[in-house]
């Protein structure tokens, strides 16, 4: 092909490259710089607001400062939101896909019903679910139609917290988490490579035991005790999100299952595999890339979950807070732009820890093809 055409091709792409470079990478850099300043307060919205560089002060304040308590609870909430959304949406989506994989009559109808919540906006979902979860109504009175007592659960305003831990001991908790990840990962690889499993299990056990025995010697993040945990008020929001996204994972898995040839399934059945055995040993390992994509996409969604919480509990409910909502309120309601930028960067860093490896691996896959 002629060189002239190559130039044209590149020039066609150029505007998009420039836009992405500025609007994605430039802006991330800019937000990072803003998070190191003291931009905020009375003159924040002026034409040329005063911004002084103060280093990592905003981050220190968020993690250890007196006023950062709300943010710390939001961060803990976000972890529980993510974990439970992942478990719920992937688990239920998988079950739905396996049911529909039997090709029941009316499959198209069921598929449509399970997937329709995905087409709604979070604002619509939030508005409807707020009414579903109203006290003395909605979900709470459903059991009465089957002859049971109504539920007394205050879905969105309960202030009960379970699985609490002291934020003072954040370092200790963080080491426990790392140890748990290493140990679980180790057990998962034990069958394929015992050598690698050992490299994961031993440091995991040592770190966990070390943190347990010498935990008192670790530096404290705060001066005083501060308890955080899983707010039961967030269960309603998690239910709504799972309702919205389980159909999506169902569609992903269904596409994967349909891609498995019928011959393979017939052969497995002839060899005496049960349905459960077929899924466990053949279908699920084959759709593992789908599980990974689903984990990435759902984590990304749970990290930016803002609209649903905004619509369900409004901006003023501390129990169901989320850093994404906190960022909006800090920036555009309290005009504390620098601290809002710091929250945004923390969200971004959490997202980047699993998105960058995913991007690198999909890039390598494309290269080798």
């Amino acid at each position: 092909m002629r060189n002239q055409d190559r130039v044209k091709a590149f020039l066609t792409l150029l505007p998009s490259i420039v836009l992405i470079a500025i609007f994605v990478y430039g802006f991330i850099g800019n937000t990072f710089w803003l998070s190191m300043t003291d931009w905020g307060g009375v003159g924040a919205l002026a034409e040329n607001p005063v911004k002084n560089i103060i280093g990592f002060g905003n981050y220190v304040e968020l993690f250890t400062g007196f006023l950062g308590g709300g943010f710390r609870q939001d961060l803990v909430n976000a972890v529980f939101y993510s974990v439970m959304l992942l478990a719920g949406a992937i688990g239920i989506g998988l079950i739905l896909a396996m049911l529909l994989d039997n090709k029941p009559k009316g499959e198209a109808f069921f598929r449509t019903v399970f997937l329709y919540p995905m087409s709604l906006s979070f604002i619509v979902t939030g508005t409807i679910w707020r009414w579903m979860l109203a006290p003395q109504g909605g979900v709470n009175i459903l059991p009465t139609y089957a002859g049971f007592e109504p539920l007394q659960y205050s879905w969105l305003s309960s202030s009960t917290t379970v699985l609490t831990f002291d934020w003072q001991n954040l370092l200790q908790v963080a080491i426990y988490l790392v140890a748990a990840v290493l140990i679980i990962w180790g057990f998962l690889t034990i069958r394929s490579s015992q050598r690698r499993a050992l490299w994961l299990l031993v440091p995991g056990v040592v770190a966990g035991a070390g943190a347990w025995i010498w935990g008192d010697l670790l530096p404290k993040t705060l001066f005083m005790e501060e308890m955080h945990g899983f707010n039961t008020a967030t269960i309603g929001i998690i239910m709504a999100t799972i309702w919205q996204y389980s159909g999506y994972t169902m569609a992903l898995y269904l596409a994967g299952f349909t891609g498995i040839s019928q011959d393979l399934r017939d052969a497995a059945m002839l060899d005496g595999a049960t349905t459960a055995g077929y899924y466990r040993h053949i279908a699920l390992p084959l759709v593992k890339p789908i599980t990974i994509s689903a984990v990435i996409i759902l984590s990304h969604i749970s990290l930016k979950m803002f609209d649903l919480i905004f619509a369900m509990t409004g901006p003023d409910n501390a129990e169901t807070g989320h850093p994404a909502l906190n960022m909006y309120l800090t920036t555009f309601r309290a005009n504390d732009f620098a601290k809002g930028a710091a929250i945004a960067i923390i969200l971004f860093l959490i997202a980047a820890t699993f998105i960058i490896p995913y991007m690198v691996s999909s890039y390598k896959q494309r290269r080798t093809r």
Partner: protein, 274 residues
Amino acid sequence: MMRKISLSTIALYGVLILLAIGYLLPAYLAVVTALKFPADISLPTSWELPPEVNYASFPEALALLKNNIINSVILVISATALSTLLGSLNGYVFSKWKFPGSEVVFTLFLFGMFIPYQVILIPLFQTLRAMNLYGGLPGLILAHVVYGLPITTLIFRNFYAQIPNSLMESASLDGAGFFSIYTKIILPLSIPGFVVTSLWQFTQVWNEFLWGITLTRHADNPITVGLAQLAGGQAVSWNLPMAGSILAALPVLLIYIVLGRYFIRGLLAGSVKE
């Protein structure tokens, strides 16, 4: 072929029907509440059918949200058209005119799809303000076009990868260049790609909220912001927010029911499955 009715078949259908009812409950509740008179709405009877049907909530909600719906229609049409067209051109270059480093550039593009948008929100707000685009629809359209580029490029790149290169080579031998290959060969073959991409973009733009609330002034708020304000008002009884929710959901819901196949293909494409 006769199917044997066994216990497991009954169990399968039983579970499926129960689950389907569960998934439809929120929609049912929204519809019955929207059809009640405000006086008939009370928590203990929220699941019951309206004693007397009241259709007035829909025109009332429509009147309240009219401005927002017009804004969203303008926004959705222009943002979808622009980002789809750009995505198609980009996908064409990334799949048929690879250059050294194009895979790296493409991966850098894709990353833009997965960032939490909070991380670009403040500079975006400032930039639009500096460009005099803050507050109105053009700024919002620009944001949707730019941040829609990763996904539209991805869908078209995967779509064009299925078009055989030999087709391009023979056209090239006939003297066709970069643009004439695009307009004469690629574009006519891309109709399904355009359908999938525009459905995806339509859904995303119509349902978006964060930019709508931070980047536009009241007069230019899209439908999601209008609905949030309608539902957030204290004095409003529940029939209006429910009718508003149904109105806000209807366009995408209709697309999903009528063009479900393409909608699902868009969903799957959005998961970076190649």
